[in-house]
Symmetry: C2
Amino acid sequence: MRSHVEPDFETAKNVLEHALRRRELITLYCECMVKYEGRAYSKLERGERVVTIKQDNTLLVHKPTGRNPINWIKEGASIKFKTGDALVITAESINPREHMMINISKVNLLVSAELSDAEEVSIVGSEADMARMIYEKPYLISDDFKPVSLEEQTKYGFIDVMGHNGKGTLVIIECKRVTAGLNAVQQLRRYVEKIKKVKGVKKVVGYIAAPGMSKNAEGMLKDWGYKFARVEPPNRNIVDKSRQQKLKKYLKSNS
Amino acid sequence: MRSHVEPDFETAKNVLEHALRRRELITLYCECMVKYEGRAYSKLERGERVVTIKQDNTLLVHKPTGRNPINWIKEGASIKFKTGDALVITAESINPREHMMINISKVNLLVSAELSDAEEVSIVGSEADMARMIYEKPYLISDDFKPVSLEEQTKYGFIDVMGHNGKGTLVIIECKRVTAGLNAVQQLRRYVEKIKKVKGVKKVVGYIAAPGMSKNAEGMLKDWGYKFARVEPPNRNIVDKSRQQKLKKYLKSNS
DNA sequence: GCCTAGGTCCCGTAT
DNA sequence: ATACGGGGCCTAGGC
């Protein structure tokens, strides 16, 4: 754990190089200007930001607000430091071919440490979980649905749940964990058309399984003769509702 | 600029509350466990991470590697701190309704500062820039293309560039700044079909303008009778190529 | 508020 | 390597 308050450029450069070599996670509070070129070109004029260099050489520039970095280079970049009138960080990557330059006019704080974290996050509530739920509870779609395959890469495309209706008609289901839009219907359409063509059958039943659909998507669904089954993704919004009511009031009174 | 190395929980809580009230940007190097529930449910077991609270109450948990936060709550959350066996941070938001809990067993470092940054990033090379370029240089599509409208929300959909061929036939163009896939073709198809229906015309020329197309997308494009125009987005990949060759060698020799 | 579509999307997975 | 699709996507722009 190293912490340097307002180091001069030369000190900062030495500390940064040392930390980078030891694969430490670096955080820099600084005043900087950023240029990026690669998949696009961008320029960010001077301002105070937080620059992070992660242990895989991911480089992030964060503004004081917002979820996403305003500038970044993905893992595996080649990172270098120079001093002069300013402290300059350059990051370069191939694939995608891109380059970033951070011109730092003032280092307010520089900290670094090696973090140890072997854990992976476990998430419940994905589209895959939803498909699994439907596979196990086919009545969520209809009384006669008999699922056969799950999340399978077929030559017709990647189909969430596939089965039949007990009378020889194929049924395919496209799941969406949120309101289904035009895209979802077109995805379904692509799979249905392809399967019809390849199998040489006339009728295939297509379903969108989702908590809801947009109005236009619903129209398109009807135009193409597909069906909708209202299905909530598993484990969504289990946040206590009464607590949320209180929060709503609290945020209102504090705004 | 405040910096605290290995503060006890009570100190950390006081500093955090003070910093939060003053809308400072907070960075915490710590050992923690994270639970999230809302749009899904997730759990992340104990490990060393960096927790960031931004000046708009965005909350980020970063692992030592990777571009994206492993857990987060978007801006405007209600954030609270508690102490006991651990230092516990809770964040709660409505819309989307979600809740996060960070159980911190060790605080390695706590820093905070108020950042001032009024600048917005300027980016060149977006799809909109590409559409504008085509509008100004219609010969990039074909010799007879006459553009009329640009990036317009029509009742047929949001159409990048629309025009005609000088002989009364409508031409619509869907731009993609990267290799166009199946989705792009289906988007184009949606617009063309809609415009045919609403205008009651038989022929509308549809173009994909992109640096390239995937094989399947190309097949679908032909099936539907649309066309492809190879167009590079403006200001892409201006990174020096010779420098990149050197970098390639360097990264190879260091791996 | 919903809907639509882009993004320097990122990211995993399958071919 | 490319390609395809999900994501707790995020974010901006219309309506």
